[in-house]
Amino acid sequence: MHAEITQIVNETPSTQTFFFDLYLGHVPGQYVMVWIRGVDEIPMSLSYSNAITVQKVGDATAALFKLGKGDSFGIRGPFGNGFSLEGKSILLIAGGVGAAPLGSLAEKAKGNNIRVKTILGAKSAEELLFKKRFDNAGDLMIATEDGSLGYPGLATELVDELDLAKYDAIYSCGPEKMMFRVLNIAEGFDVLSRVQFSLQRYVKCGLGLCGMCCIDPSGLRVCRDGPVFRGDQLVGTEFGQYTRDASGKRVKL
């Protein structure tokens, strides 16, 4: 599909939202393969049904950041399984650009009259993504590593203070080290099956065929069986330990 950029919003110093002229019927947590022609194709979570929110990290995202309104990219998807919205009271734990798919989930939950509490973490106040979206959807707790806003420290330190058993469902997206800590906390409360994590792996084909994004030892494919998995699917796996690079070689986290 051909997506023309209709608007670009500077969200934080390192992230931009690219709105495009297609509305993709999606479940929050699903992703698209974004083709920056002549450069590469990369998996990106949908942050709205007509937008992706991107952090500049490599060649492809750098090329994307050079595009303007009226420019275009190719798009395939939406792919994978998104978050399953459950219960009456939920907790979102977002770190950095991991807030991208959760912003869309928060709004959907609010629309369904679900009570939403969000813990949003970032390196600094200006790097907090979608603060207003989470604030509008319910309770918001903020953590910044440099202490410039909210709790000075990691988002997971705020999670430590909560009684996770009080929530019907918990959703997390962010750096894997952060999510691994959430997994451990959830294990302590015996609520692993209530937590849904959105995983990031080197997704190459997006079709479930190349096998590059499979998780050890289950062989579950992040691109097709995920990217959202429940905590009980991730205990005892490579999650939090290592990932793989473009060649398939293991890289310690």
């Binding site: 051909h2 393969m33 083709w35 022609r37 002549g38 450069v39 590469d40 194709e41 990369i42 275009s72 190719g74 395939r76 190459k204 084909c205 997006g206 079709l207 479930g208 065929l209 190349c210 096998g211 590059m212 499979c214 998780i215 050890d216 030892p217 289950s218 062989g219 579950l220 494919r221 793989r244 690079d245 473009a246 060649s247 398939g248 070689k249 293991r250």
Partner: protein
């Protein structure tokens, strides 16, 4: 119904094999395929050095099948030895290997032999990596030389995967002369797609290989011709997605069939195809040996 098949001395519980390049990069994905009923699995192609492969898109779905140009991404044989050791399990693991010449093929085979591969499949047919694959498989002298080099270096069966050409029988005969235990036919067909909005070729590598239902009739003809000309096992691959497809290949002379793209629709395709073959044999009162090559006239 017993579907046990002997292919180049390997005992397969049924004649369905995971094709190279599909879900074959890690031990865990190979094991998942084993548990979905495959009689054997072939790994992703492994070479001498780490390769990240081509820029994306590396694979797309088209109306008639899939186009791919992964570009032989692999972590090198040094790294892959760990995966191979872990992958060893309920069914034979055949390691697909590639190289630029006989020496590289031999180096990879010797590098992996300690990890216990049940056989090697020589990738002489990948259509989208210059200097590798099909550019070697199209030259019968190279096919013979590379096959012989690997065959003399290792004591496990050596299968040679051939590119789909009008001269596939010549390459097949060359593999047989070089000592191959089996030939595998076919790999993907050279192909491409163009995005009409941007006027860019869609694959990052510009062109790639076509797989899926569209190539089945081409593959079937190759297997048929090879069976008539060769004395070694033929393994059929190309567009097999149902037990009826699989039987066509067996009737054309294939000892076993590899399955790739069909995994997209059905992870349990191996089990479903085996069950279909078993029903057919029961209904017709035959065993596998009776039907193998029965259509060759």
């Amino acid at each position: 119904m017993d579907l046990t098949t002997n292919v180049t001395g390997l005992q397969l519980r049924n004649p369905t094999i995971l094709a190279a390049g599909i879900l074959g990069s890690t031990a865990s994905s190979l094991k998942r395929v084993m548990s979905s009923g495959a009689g054997a699995v072939v790994t992703k192609s492994i070479g001498v050095a780490l390769r990240e492969g081509h820029p994306g898109p590396v694979m797309i779905q088209t109306e008639h099948g899939f186009l791919n140009a992964i570009g032989l991404a692999n972590p090198s044989y040094h790294e892959f030895t760990h995966e191979l050791k872990e992958a060893k399990g309920e069914v034979p693991v055949i390691v697909s290997i590639f190289g630029r010449n006989a020496e590289e093929f031999k180096e990879v085979a010797l590098g992996l032999i300690g990890a216990g591969p049940d056989a090697f499949e020589l990738n002489l047919s990948c259509p989208h990596a210059e200097g590798y694959g099909a550019s070697l498989g199209e030259d019968p002298n190279e096919v013979e030389k590379i096959t012989r080099a690997v065959k003399e270096a290792v004591n496990v069966p050596v299968w040679v995967k051939l590119p789909p050409l009008t001269s596939i029988v010549k390459s097949g005969l060359a593999a047989q002369k070089g000592g191959a235990d089996a030939v595998v036919a076919i790999n993907t067909l050279p192909a491409m797609a163009i995005d009409i909005e941007s006027r860019f070729p869609v694959l990052g590598n510009i062109s790639g290989g076509l797989s899926g239902a569209a190539i089945k009739p081409v593959a079937l003809k190759c297997v048929y011709d090879l069976y008539a000309a060769l004395n070694i096992d033929i393994i059929g691959v190309g567009g097999v997605s149902s037990w009826r497809d699989a039987l066509e290949f067996i009737l054309a002379g294939a000892s076993a069939i590899e399955i790739g793209s069909a995994v997209y629709e059905d992870m349990d395709v191996f089990r479903h195809i085996s069950e279909g073959i078993a029903r057919y044999l029961q209904d017709t009162g035959c065993d596998l040996e009776d039907v193998q090559g029965a259509a060759v006239r």
